[in-house]
Every structure is written in C-alpha cells, then in structure tokens.
C-alpha cells in the first residue's frame, strides 16, 4: 500500500513528469530549453493522461487534493485574520477611540471649568482648580495614547499635531489669566476669554476631528469583522460540489455506490461548511450587536456629553464675558439644542434613548434626560437673574457646588448619568465582541483539520479505484 503511494506520489505533484516522449532529455545540459517547453509539455502530458481512465482518475484525485489544500489554506488565513480583526477591535481600536474621546471630553471640561475658577476665588475655586488640573493631565495622557496610534493616518496625525502644539499655549494663557486675577487686574478675564477662544476655534475642532476619525476607523473594522468570508465560502462549496460530481462519475463508471474515502472527504467538507456558516453567522451577529448596541450608542452618548460640556462652558462664559455675553448665550442655546432638542426629548439624548431601548444603559439615558431638563430650568433662572442686573445672584446659582438647586449640581448629575451610560455601552461592546471572537477560536484550526481529512479522503478513495486497473 505504502509502496503504491510512493510510486504514484511524484505523479500527483508533477503530472507533467508522467509519460513523456522517448528520447526527450529531462533536465540535462539544455535545462533552460526544457524549462521553456515545460508548459506545453505539461498540457500535452495531461491531455494524454486524460485519454485513459487511470490517468483521468489520477488527475481527478490530484485536483481534489489540491482544491482541499487550497480551501484549508485560504480558510485558515481568512478566518484567522477575521479573528485577529475582532481581537484588535477589543485590544486596540476601541481603547484608542476611547482615548480620542477622553481628549475631546477632558478638553471641553477644562474649557468649562477654567471660567469657573476665575468666577470665584474661594474654596470652591480650589475645587474647580483641581478639576481643571485633572482635565489637563487626562487630556495630555490620552493625547499621548492617541498620538501613538495615529501613525500612518495623515488626517489623524494632523489633528494630533494641532493638539500637541496648542495645548501648552492654552494652559499658558489660563495661567496668565489666573495670575492677573490674583493681582487684581481685570485684564485676567480678557486672557481667559482669549484662552477659551483658542480652545474653541482650534483645539476642540481638532479633538473633535480626531475623535470622529477614530470612530470611523472603529466602525470600518467592525464592518470588516461582520462581513461574509466569500472566498472561503465559495472555495469550500466548490470542493463540496467537486467531490459530489466525482462520486457520481465514479458510480457511473464502476457501478459502485459508495467510495469510503470520498464519502469521508464529503462529510468533512460538509461539516466544515456547516460549522463555519453557523460560527461566522453567530460571530457577525455578536460583532454587529456590539456595534449597534455598544459602540454606536457610546458614540451618541459621548456626543451628548460633549454638547453638555460645551453648553456648560457657554453658561459660565456668558457670566464672565464682559458685556458681549449674548454670543455665548446663543452658543449655549445651540449646544442645548444639539443635546436634547427643542423640547428636551430630542437631540443626542433622544437618539440615545431610542438606541438604548431595553439595554442596561437605558436607565442612565432616562436619568440624563431628566437632569438635562432640570439644568435647562436652572439656566433659565440664571439668565433671568443676570438679565435683571442681579449678577452676583446669577453667579451664585450658576457656580455654587453645595446643594442640589444650582446649575452646577444639575450639570454634574447630567455628566455623571452620561458617563455611566457610556461605561455600560462600552461594556456591552466588550462582551459582545469578545464572545464573537471566542466563537471563532476553534474554527480556524478545525477547518484546517477537516480540509486535511478531505484531502486524504479523496487521495485514498480514488487510489482504491485505481488499484482495480492493475
């Protein structure tokens, strides 16, 4: 048995080296000429082999084995890469999106907080100052993380460049503002307004772009991970079809219904196709669910949170702005419109409520909608006080950190609700995507083994028939 395999072995790998015209030298001195003639010689050899039944069977056996080998290799590569993509989502892509989000969020918060530190110099000012320092530190750390991943993406590099260059300038201006205020110079407020202008006109747009680039990259890779592995599927089906056709052909020629090797091969391929179809479907569903219920909801809530932060910055700057506070108030209204729409039920919060319906984040979104409503009410009171000339009372209501009535309390609740909603959505993404990856863990090696079985089955099965011609 073994000897038979060895005898036919070279013929399987190199069908062209089979029967060749006598006197034609193989290799030898004119090796190059032989190489040039190789293709035509091979075609001739194949045609001659196909003319006889044993030759044809040998060819079929070789073809099936090659196809099985190809299916195994392609599937191993395609499914392995797919798993790597999914693991990359969890290990790199999503954390980087979170880093970009942290840059955007902490910078927005710094902008909102810096104004407050100038509005009151007391103990509350110290608390706000701590918060500002934390924001700047977080933004710097997250920026370094985002920068390390931006290489190779020119659009992201450009945004990181702007952020790295302007953030020190911004903090310098804020310190100048603080020093002037400490010395009793009203020009401090002008420096703070300049810092805020820099933040809004250059830094925050860059942070926003960076975040959007990362969100897009995440979504692209999620789409990749949830796509249909066409090549593997088509090749596996082709192999299956070839095996069936071969068996039908053999049955007609030899009147034997079953060929054990080919049946084993067919079952193996069928099993591989079925397994991968089920596994890939489950995995795609999980990754898609991680996208639609996880990362996409995270994105909506992140946008809501940033709109809220910008509105908060506008609220405090309206009070700090020297006379021309109306522009900030208009921006506040625009930010609030983005946050929760005209009626307090729409905007990003409305979108998040629709998107998280039935999910664990839904409670947090509902709480956020209530907090946003409360904040709008307090803001209206703040504006009435300020417009009525009661500036000190307005500042008190907007900035005070004690008690539950102030704008600070309402805003802090809203921010906390959204932060918890974001944490829940990220968890959902992580769970679904990791489970999706687990489904694929055994598929790639399993597919390879089944392809090997199919390959051996077809070789051995046809060799069985060939023996009958001896």
């Amino acid at each position: 048995m073994t000897s038979t395999v060895t005898r036919h072995g070279p013929e399987v790998q190199q069908p062209e080296s089979g029967p060749e015209p006598a006197g034609e030298p193989r290799g030898g001195r004119s090796g190059f000429a032989w190489l040039v003639r190789l293709p035509s010689a091979a075609v001739r050899g194949l045609r001659r082999s196909a003319a006889t039944t044993p030759g044809r069977l040998t060819l079929i056996s070789a073809g099936l084995a090659l196809l099985a080998l190809l299916v195994g290799t392609v599937a191993g590569a395609e499914l392995g890469e797919r798993k790597a993509t999914i693991d990359g989502l969890v290990d790199h892509r999503e954390p980087l999106t979170a880093a970009a989000q942290e840059v955007y969020r902490s910078l927005s918060d710094a902008d909102a907080t810096a104004a407050g530190t100038l509005l009151n110099a007391d103990s509350e000012g110290i608390a706000l100052r701590d918060r500002y320092d934390l924001d700047v530190a977080r933004a710097g750390a997250a920026l370094a993380k985002a920068a390390s991943a931006s290489a190779g993406n020119p659009a992201a590099v450009a945004q990181v460049d702007v952020l790295s260059r302007q953030l020190p300038v911004y903090t310098g201006l804020v310190e100048t503002a603080r020093t002037n205020s400490r010395q009793g110079n009203p020009v401090g407020a002008a420096y703070l307004a300049e810092a805020s202008q820099l933040m809004r006109s250059e830094i925050l747009p860059a942070a926003k772009n960076l975040y959007e680039i990362e969100v897009e990259r995440l979504a692209d890779e999620q789409d990749d991970a949830a796509s249909v592995p066409w090549l593997t599927g088509l090749l596996a089906l082709a192999l299956l079809a070839a095996l069936i056709v071969t068996q039908v052909h053999l049955k007609r020629r030899t009147n034997r219904v079953f060929n054990v090797g080919l049946v084993v091969a067919t079952v193996a391929v069928g099993l591989a196709v079925l397994w991968s179809a089920v596994a890939v479907t489950i995995q795609s569903v999980l990754v898609s669910s991680g996208q639609s219920s996880g990362s996409e909801q995270t994105d909506v809530m992140v946008r809501a949170r940033i709109a809220a932060l910008q509105a908060r910055a506008d609220e405090t700057l309206t009070l700090l702005a020297r006379g021309n506070g109306t522009a900030y108030e208009e921006e506040y209204q625009a930010s609030i419109q983005r946050l929760s729409g005209g009626n307090g039920q729409g905007g990003f919060l409305g979108e998040a409520r629709d998107g998280t319906e039935g999910l664990s984040a839904a409670d947090h979104v509902d709480a956020a909608i209530r907090s946003a409503g409360a904040w709008r009410e307090v803001h209206g009171q703040v504006r009435n006080l300020d417009n009525g000339g009661r500036y000190e009372d307005a500042v008190e209501l907007a900035i005070q950190t004690e008690g539950d009535e102030g704008a600070t309390a309402a805003f802090t609740r809203l921010d906390g609700d959204l932060a918890r909603g974001i944490a829940d959505s990220r968890q959902l993404f992580l769970d679904d995507t990791t489970n999706g990856s687990r489904v694929l863990t055994l598929l790639s090696p399993g597919f390879a083994v089944l392809s090997l079985v199919a390959m051996l089955g077809s070789i051995l099965g046809i060799r069985e028939r060939l023996r009958e011609y001896r």
Binding site: L118, L119, N120, A121, D161, R165, V169, L173, N180, S181, R182, G184, N185, P186, V187, G188, A189, A190, Y191, A193, E194, A195, S196, Q197, L198, S201, R322, G323, N324, G325, N387, G388, G389, R390, Y391, E392, V395
Partner: protein, 320 residues
Amino acid sequence: MKRWTWLAGALVATLVAGCGSAGTPVDPAPVGSVQRPMPGGTDVSGKIEQGGSDAPNCNPQQSLRPDDSMPPGSTMDNIKKRGYLIAGVDQATNLWGFRNPHTGELEGFDIDVVKEIAHDIFGSYDPNTIRFKAINSSERETVLASGDVDVVVRTYSVTCERLQKVAFSSVYFEAAQRVLVTEKSGIENIAQLGGKKVCAAGSSTSVNRLAEAKPKPEPVVTNNWTDCLVLLQQGQVAGVSTDDTILAGMTEEDPATRVVGPQLSEELYGVGVPKGNEDMVRFVNATLEDFRKNMWRDRFRHWGLQRVLGDLTPPQPQYR
C-alpha cells in the same frame, strides 16, 4: 593573482559606496512658525467702519438745566416704584467700570456716578436699588434706544452724531485721546507709530481718529479695551490709542507701559439717557452738580487718576 586584484577592487568599491552621504537627516516634526493666539473678535484687516460724519454741528457740552424734582409719573418716579435703577456699564475697563477680581463686585469712577444717581432717586444708597447691565461699546446706543436701561455710564463721549440718537447729561469728565506704549519702545507720540499696528476698540471715537492720523498707523480693532492690553502685552501691537482715562487704567495693570504723546482729541464724558426722557436728563444733571462739587475730587484721587492725568478739576457744566 589577477583575480584577487579584481576581487579587492570590488570590495573597496562596495565600501566606498557605503560611505557616501545619504542625504540630510530627517526633521521628524517640522514646525515652521508659531502664530500667537489673539483675543476673539480681533480684526487685523486694517479696515475701519467709519460712521457717517454728516451730523449737524452742535455744542456737545450743552445739556438741559438741572432739576431734582421727581413729580408723580416722571421717569424717576417710575424707577422708584420699580425698586431699582438699571444702568448700562462696562465691567472690563480698569478704574472706570470693572469687576474686582477678588470680590466680583463692580467698581470704578463710572460706577460711583451710577451709585450717586441711585442715591438721589431712592434717597439713600442701597446696593439692591441698582441693577448693573454689562454692555459693549457698540451696544450703548442700542440698549438706550430699546429702553433696556435707564442710563448708560460707560466712558461715553458726547458727540453731535450720538446726540441724534440719545440724550446726554452735562459733562462729568474731560478726557483726551492719547497713546499707550511699552516703556522700552521709546515711542513718544502717535507719529512714531506710523505704519505700525495700533489697537483700538470698535465703535469708539478713538478708532475713527486713528484712521485720520498721519502717518497712518495700521489699526487693529478689538471688541473690548482690555483685549488691546492683551495684544500689547503679547507684543502683537506697538501701541493702544484711546482716552487717557482708559489708558490710565491699563498702566495701573501693567507698570511696564506708559501713556505718551500730545492730546489728540477732547473726549467729554456724559451720562447717556434714552432720547425723550428729558426729565431724567435734568435729574441726572442735578445729581452731577452735587457730584462735581462734593465727591469728584475724592473719587478722582481714590482711583489714582492723578498719577497719569495730573491734577484735574471737575469740568464746568454748560446748559442751554
């Protein structure tokens, strides 16, 4: 032997090729120039919107005769019934109308004038009888026309053009446009600023005069006067040109600056009142009579204005 020579030659050629220059080292993060930030709304185009100067000639000093009575139904009576006076003021101009960064309270010479008016309407001074509304230079006429405020006390120069839209009290301060530069610059007058960047706030009388100066400086227009000080401190303008009263406040904040040059114009500060409220103009004039006589010198010294302006005396009111 020949073969060895050939091999050695090839080896040397390879080494020499490896020693040649491989171009210049790469700058991993090239940064050309750095644009310093500017206060929001800064206009460096050098264009100035000049208000039509087709106002008829007038004597801006002349106001209505004082009258401190408050008959029922008068503007003052309505303010008293409302419980508070609404005053349009500045909250960013040092010494005139600014928020004390330590206390958050509004202070300044103009604020003192508002407090006196409130004092006379309500009989005694109580902080609750005043509602301050912080406004821009450009908003002064609009808030008076809309009736959002009862008075505007905000380094407000009386001009014939403005008299078309609003009513003014008698003059309570005589200022003059001059130039603020850094001490080290050595600049002594506006002529030396020709072709250089000079800052002024929009919708002010100063910005128009800047356009008329010869040789012409390059005007940079901001929203607020404090923004001009920021630009001067950041080295983005060579000077600031406006009333010496405002410049005095800036030198207080930055001892490295000086007010220099001759007086370019005379600026007469009056209290702005909605056009038509003649009773209010007369009432404010009565308050100012008293203010000039009894408080003016004290407040002048309190704000340290003599350090830049020298010893001034209250202006003489003119009535028609």
